[in-house]
Symmetry: C2
Subunit: 234 residues, 2 copies
């Protein structure tokens, strides 16, 4: 398996193949993202083989193991180990070995968000807190939640939520929202534009121009989104 | 405490005051929703007192207990007990005691979604699955996730996600989206309209009229949303 892993680049390393790690891995694979799992429990090998996932059995908080998993060529890592302490150590080590790639970490609760971010995680997720908030929203804003679940369901092609990067040489670079035909012809809603510094403009005005490096947050049919992706490619 | 509970109506009963139950209860109370907690662990009473929450100590899957918690006058119930079996039993019993109110249930995994829905739950939430999906989206669609987190943060008044019901006698009832000034004057985006049968129309056209009983999914500043809420009141 090491041979196959060596050939990878732009892959994700998922540390911990518990319930969350497994669901997450399946999502990523569905989206054509290569994944290498590091799991310490030998008993999980059967499941991993059955799922057709590349993996290494051993401790993730280990420089050699992370290098074997191709950390220097990877796009990112998911720290989904059992304890917050292990995840903090893993994030620190991963950040040293690859200063630029994307780090997602799981926290047992929101209180561990800050230490994980300080260690170098870009995004920290606490399933219990998210679950609690989702239950509250299901009560407070049931239609919004129903709407979002539809928009995030890959099978509902009528309406989706997506982000599109404006690439160098894109047909719509330096064109205004108004002149782009996005709203009128493609029937898409541009909800926000994030510039390359990470600043987000909500509900952009009609005369806003698309700039190379912007990321556009857009809603509409899968078909129109595909069309727009082509117009934003270089 | 029974005296105080007796006076309530339109409240929510939260069964189980573990980590999720507690966060959820705090969210609901922040939004001025009355909550009665049923928790079997006597040791949690100190925490509940400290949190200033109305509660009953005992088993939730018990007709008398649910009646003491005011199930017949409640707006809904949250089944957040430890096991899926307990939650299924609770949902069944709650449905018998109040056929109309809103039932939210927690599932340990997506596989229990169907049995809980069959038992009568309107909304089933599995924190692990939601957490895994959120981690995947943080990788696949980081800007969309950042956008949504901002829109759902009550402190970010610049841009929020809300739903508004069109009430009998509302100023904007039978007025079209185009003529309403929602887009041009209030700078709000109407993303979807759900009719009273629960059918959802995405990205409604400019000539779509608002009908009494519709629920409008809208995005924009907190101030504009407040304005629109007034125009949709009876």
């Amino acid at each position: 398996m090491d041979n196959q892993i060596e050939k990878l680049d732009d892959h994700y390393i998922v540390c911990g193949y518990g319930r969350i790690g497994r669901i997450l891995t399946q999502y990523l694979i569905q989206k054509y993202i290569n994944v290498v799992v590091i799991e310490k429990d030998t008993a999980q090998a059967v499941q991993l083989d059955g799922d057709g996932v590349l993996y290494l059995i051993g401790e993730a908080v280990d420089e050699n193991m992370l290098i074997r998993a191709g950390i220097r060529q990877a796009s990112g890592i998911v720290a989904g180990l059992e304890t917050d302490d292990e995840n903090i150590q893993l994030v620190q080590l991963a950040r040293q070995l690859n200063p630029d790639f994307f780090i997602v970490a799981r926290a047992s609760r929101d209180a561990f968000k800050k230490p994980l971010e300080d260690a170098g995680a870009h995004k920290v997720i606490s399933p219990y807190d998210i679950g609690a908030r989702r239950m509250a929203h299901a009560i407070l804003r049931p239609t919004v939640i129903k709407f979002l679940e539809t928009a995030f369901n890959d099978e509902s092609t009528e309406f989706q939520f997506e982000e599109i990067r404006v690439r160098q040489g894109a047909k719509l670079a330096n064109v205004s929202l108004m002149d782009s035909g996005i709203r009128q012809e493609m029937n898409l809603i541009v909800i926000a534009i994030q510039d390359k510094n990470g600043d987000m403009m909500f509900n952009p005005k009609a005369d806003t121009q698309f700039v190379v490096g912007d990321t556009i947050v857009v809603m509409g049919s899968a078909k129109s989104i595909k069309q727009l992706e082509i117009l934003m490619q270089g």
